[in-house]
């Protein structure tokens, strides 16, 4: 009973303060400006990566078609692997956008939390399994092309390209590892929240 009386007092304080919150005269216009900015930012967030990947795909395809049309079967398979890797990557990005859009704030907290868990579980699988496979395919494809390229490029230039690729692969390894760690931390926090909700 004492707790209920105390609580009534808190409720009064709470509601008095709420009633004192005034509408700022320019609030709605500021909000409309923010909405416009957010819509633009979201567009780039959702489609920026796809646009970049598509541009890369087009450039690589045009390169193999017009600039360096490889003739040997081994090289053609290599080029195919590189292009396929990129296509798979674009497909994953599209699925990822769909899952990200499902993490909408309009659902109840439990559903929103479960959708967020699903999204981060998906991202964890992408980072830990799919991304290394794509990088692997791309790398195998790249080295399958180099024997034919060596006929047209000096040995030193080829060596330079090969070494630079190894450097990129090492950087990619650390980027992927960081991505996995980040997803694991986020996942464990959201799972804790879900447990709190359902316990």
């Amino acid at each position: 009973m004492v707790m209920d009386n105390d609580f009534k007092e808190f409720q009064n304080e709470w509601n008095n303060n709420k009633n004192n919150i005034e509408l700022s005269p320019n609030g709605i216009n500021t909000l409309y400006d923010k909405i416009k900015k957010k819509e633009k930012a979201n567009y780039f967030f959702y489609y920026g990566t796809i646009i970049i990947l598509l541009a890369t795909l087009i450039v690589i395809s045009l390169f193999f078609y017009y600039v360096a049309p490889v003739k040997e079967i081994l090289s053609r398979i290599g080029a195919g692997l590189m292009i396929c890797g990129l296509i798979v990557r674009i497909g994953i990005e599209i699925i990822s956008i769909g899952k990200a859009k499902r993490m909408n704030t309009i659902h109840n907290t439990l559903t929103a939390t479960e959708n967020t868990i699903r999204f981060h579980q998906f991202r964890k699988v992408i980072h830990s399994i799919v991304a290394p496979i794509i990088v692997g395919l791309y790398t195998i494809g790249f080295y399958m092309i180099t024997p034919e390229f060596s006929l047209y490029i000096s040995r030193w230039n080829l060596l330079l390209i090969d070494i630079s690729y190894i450097v990129i692969a090492i950087i990619l390894f650390f980027v992927i590892r960081k991505g996995i760690k980040k997803e694991m931390v986020i996942l464990s926090e959201i799972m804790d929240l879900r447990n709190e909700i359902t316990e």
Partner: protein
């Protein structure tokens, strides 16, 4: 000329801005700037989803859901920030310069709420806002009986915190 969506949105904003701001303030321990950003995030989400609102619940319940989820998303984004000590929280609450008894009371309440975990903060704020268990259950997505148990626990925790802070 304003579209129907603009008119409806502005009506919703006028009716619910104080409720959303108060929730955000309580959630971020009274930090006015962060609360303002969060409030804007909530209404951006309202605008984005207004066309898909089918009226399965009231606008108020719908906005509560968006507010709760936006606040929880904010935690995910800001998790790396250092945690606050009580004195830091007290310095952070609004109206530091001219504390009338009313402002001191709400500051004390924000400070105490800020010491609860995130979900408990949101639950207790909905109770403070006079929401019934069914509405809270609809917002959170659990059974009203479960809400009742949780709120009973949170009230006890809040009381203990206030007593420890010397305001019980």
């Amino acid at each position: 000329m304003k579209s129907n969506q603009n008119i409806l949105f502005e009506e919703i904003y006028q009716q619910h801005h104080a409720m959303v701001m108060q929730m955000c303030l309580g959630f971020v321990r009274g930090d006015h700037d962060i609360a303002k950003d969060l409030q804007q995030e909530v209404f951006i989400s309202v605008w984005k989803n207004l066309k898909t609102f089918r009226g399965a619940s009231s606008y108020k319940t719908w906005i509560y859901r968006i507010t709760v989820n936006t606040c929880l998303q904010h935690v995910k984004k800001k998790k790396k920030e250092p945690t606050f000590s009580i004195s830091e929280i007290e310095n952070q609450v609004p109206f530091p310069e001219q504390k009338t008894p009313e402002k001191r009371a709400i500051s004390t309440l924000y400070t105490a709420i800020g010491q609860l975990n995130e979900l408990d903060r949101l639950l207790i704020m909905m109770v403070l806002d006079n929401q019934d268990y069914d509405t809270i259950a609809e917002v959170i997505g659990i059974q009203p009986t479960n809400v009742r148990v949780k709120i009973h626990r949170v009230k006890k925790r809040l009381k203990k915190i206030l007593e420890n802070n010397g305001n019980g």
